[in-house]
Symmetry: C2
Subunit: 358 residues, 2 copies
C-alpha cells in the first residue's frame, strides 16, 4: 500500500545538482506544470489539490533539486526582486559602508542587487540607470551621486540634495554636524580655524559648507577666506587633503584648528601638518567628517563628525523597498534626515598656549 519512496534513476541522481525545469518535473510526476507550480509557490489556488499530491510534488522537487528559473519568473511576474546601486567608487570607505548597510537589508528581504561605480564620469552616470532599468531593476539607490534625470522606478539618493520628481533623498543634518564640530573646537579655545571644502562634484559639498558658515556665524567664529581650501581631483586618496593643507600652510596665516571635508582628506592634511613640524593635537587640532573605519585606526585617533553610514544604507534599502511595494502610487517621502554624532578622539586638544592670548 505505502509505496516505497520512488528511487530516482541513477542519471537523475547523478545530475541532481543540475538544474531541472518545471516541465521536466511535471512530466516526471505525471502532472501538469500548472499543478506543480501552484503547489511549489503555495498560492491559495493550491488549496483544491489534496495534501497527498502536494507532498508528492514537494518531495520530487526536493529530490530532483528543482529550482525555478528566476529569469522566467521575473519575466512573467514583471517583478525581478532586484535593485540597482550606483556608487562613485567601491573601494572607498564612505560608499563601502553605505553599501554594507544596503546589502544587509536587501538580502534579508530576498532582493539581490547590481552594483555599478561611475567614478564621477558623467556619461556613465547617465547610462547606468538606463542599463539597470533594462535589466528590470525595481528600484535604484544612488550613493553620493547626482542623477540628472528622473527615472521610471523608485529612486533613493543617499546624500542627494536635488529635489527631483520620484526621488527620496536621505540627507544628514549637516547644520547639526557643523555645529557639533565647531562647538567642540570653540570650547577647546580655538579661534583661528582653517577649512577644507569638498570637491565641486561631491553632492554634499555645497550643503556642508553652508552649514559650516551658518554654525560659524552662530558661534561668533570668523572664517577667513585665506584659510579656506578646496579639494581638487577625482581620486579619493588622502593625497588631495595633503595638497590642500600644504597650500594653506604656504600662505603662512596662522591657525590652530582644521576642519576637513572628510576623514580621508583630514588624514592627508595631518601628514602635511606633521611634515611642516606641527604636532597633532598639540599645535593643530584636526576634525574630520564621516567616521570611516580608518578614522579610528589613526594615531592619534581622528576626531570626527560621524555619519551613520551603515544606517543610512539600511534606511535607503528600506525606503526603496517600501516604495516598490506600496499598494498604489502613494505619496512618498521627499527627504529623510538622519542625525550625525560626534566622536572625540585624539586629534583634537586645547588651543596651544602661544595662541591663547589673542
Amino acid at each position: 500500500m505505502a509505496r516505497s519512496k520512488p528511487t530516482l534513476g541513477s542519471k537523475a541522481q547523478k545530475n541532481a545538482r543540475e538544474s531541472i525545469s518545471l516541465k521536466t518535473l511535471a512530466e516526471h510526476l505525471g502532472l501538469s506544470k500548472t499543478a506543480v507550480s501552484l503547489v511549489i509557490n503555495r498560492v491559495p489556488a493550491a488549496k483544491s489539490i489534496p495534501h497527498r499530491t502536494q507532498e508528492l510534488i514537494r518531495a520530487a522537487a526536493r529530490e530532483l533539486n528543482y529550482r525555478p528559473n528566476h529569469l522566467a519568473r521575473s519575466l512573467r511576474q514583471q517583478r525581478s526582486y532586484t535593485i540597482g546601486v550606483l556608487v562613485p567608487e567601491i573601494s572607498e570607505g564612505y560608499a563601502a559602508l553605505v553599501m554594507s548597510g544596503i546589502e544587509d537589508h536587501l538580502l534579508q528581504e530576498g532582493y539581490f542587487y547590481f552594483v555599478v561605480s561611475h567614478r564621477h564620469r558623467n556619461e556613465l552616470i547617465e547610462e547606468y540607470p538606463l542599463l539597470l532599468q533594462q535589466r528590470a531593476v525595481e528600484g535604484l539607490v544612488a550613493v553620493d551621486t547626482a542623477l540628472s534625470e528622473g527615472v521610471q522606478v523608485p529612486l533613493v539618493a543617499v546624500s542627494g540634495h536635488r529635489d527631483l520628481p520620484g526621488v527620496t533623498n536621505i540627507v544628514l543634518n549637516h547644520a547639526r554636524g557643523a555645529t557639533l564640530a565647531l562647538e567642540h573646537l570653540a570650547k577647546l579655545g580655538h579661534r583661528q580655524m582653517a577649512f577644507i571644502k569638498g570637491q565641486e562634484f561631491s553632492s554634499d559639498t555645497a550643503v556642508r559648507w553652508d552649514s559650516v558658515r551658518g554654525a560659524a556665524t552662530e558661534l561668533g567664529i570668523e572664517i577667513k577666506e585665506r584659510l579656506v581650501g578646496q579639494l581638487e581631483g577625482e581620486s579619493s586618496s588622502p593625497e588631495l587633503g595633503y595638497q590642500v593643507a600644504r597650500k594653506l600652510l604656504a600662505l603662512g596665516d596662522p591657525f590652530t584648528a582644521l576642519f576637513a571635508f572628510n576623514d580621508i582628506s583630514a588624514i592627508g592634511a595631518i601628514q602635511a601638518l606633521r611634515e611642516a613640524g606641527r604636532r597633532i593635537p598639540e599645535d593643530v587640532s584636526v576634525v574630520g567628517f564621516d567616521d570611516i573605519q580608518s578614522a579610528a585606526f589613526q594615531n592619534p585617533g581622528l576626531t570626527t563628525v560621524k555619519q551613520p553610514l551603515r544606517e543610512m544604507g539600511v534606511l535607503a534599502a528600506q525606503t526603496v523597498l517600501e516604495r516598490i511595494n506600496a499598494p498604489v502610487k502613494q505619496p512618498y517621502p521627499k527627504e529623510i534626515i538622519v542625525e550625525p554624532d560626534f566622536v572625540v578622539r585624539g586629534s583634537t586638544g586645547p588651543v596651544p598656549r602661544s595662541a591663547r592670548e589673542k
Copy 2:
C-alpha cells in the same frame, strides 16, 4: 517624395522615457518583430534587409527609446551576462579592493554582477551560490571564501586554496611574501620576532603560516611558540589584533619585531604596543600584510607585504569570462599565481641597541 520624418504622437514623445516593447515598435513600423530584432542586433542575417529599411528601424528605435528587455533576451539566449561575486564582507579593505578590480573588468566587458556577503556564516556560503545560479549567473567569483561544493558554472576563487573540480584558484606567492618580510626584518638586525596568525576560517591562514615557517627556517630565524598569537573572532576590526598583541605582551617574552597576518591586525597591534610604552619603530618594528588603503594612511606608514588586490580582482574577472566564453569545454587553469610586492614605510626600523648584542 521624401516623406518628412514621421513625427511621433505627443503621447509617444511624452512617454519616450518609458520602456516600449519590440512588438510595439514593430507595429509602429508596420514590420514584423523578426525584422526589427534582426536589425537592432545587427546579426548577419540582416544583410538581406535594405539599408533604407534598416535606417528606418534604427531611427524609430532611437525615437521611441526602445531598449530590449534584458530578462527576455537572457531567457531566450540562455545567456545572462551576469556574474555572481561572493565576499565575506563588503566594508573591509581587502574585499573592497578586489571587488573594485572585478567590477572594472566586468562592466567594461558588458557584464553586470550580483554581490553577496556571507560574513563567514556557513549556511549562507552554501546557499548563496545556489541562489545566484537560480538567477542564471554565468560564473562565480569567490573572494577569500572556501566554497564547499563544485558548482555548475565556472568559478574563480581569489585566495582559494582547495583543489576542487571546476575551480580556478588565484593565489599569492605566499612563500615570496613571507621571505620578503622576514628578509627585511633580518637585515635590520631583528632576531626576536613575534607573529600573528590569521583566523581559522580565513582561507589564507594555513598557507601563509607555512610560508612564514619555511622562510624563517631558510633565513635561520627561530620561531618561538610563545611569540605566536592567533586572531580570533569574526569581525575585521583592528580590535582583534589589539587583543592578540596584548596577550603576547603579557607573556613577557621579549621581541623587537612583529609580523602580523594582515594590515588591520597590525594596526590594532600597534595600538596595544604603544599603550604598553613601546615606540614604533624604535622599540618594535611592525610588518603588515595586504597593503590596504589605510596602511599608507597610518602614522607612521605601515611597512607591509603588498598583495596586488585590485589586479587579482581584474584577473579573476578576466579568467571567469575567458572560461565562460571558451568555445568548448576546454582545459582551464587550476591555479594562477600572483607575485607580492614589499612596501617599506615607517613602521619598521633597525633593531634597538639594547637588543643588538644578543
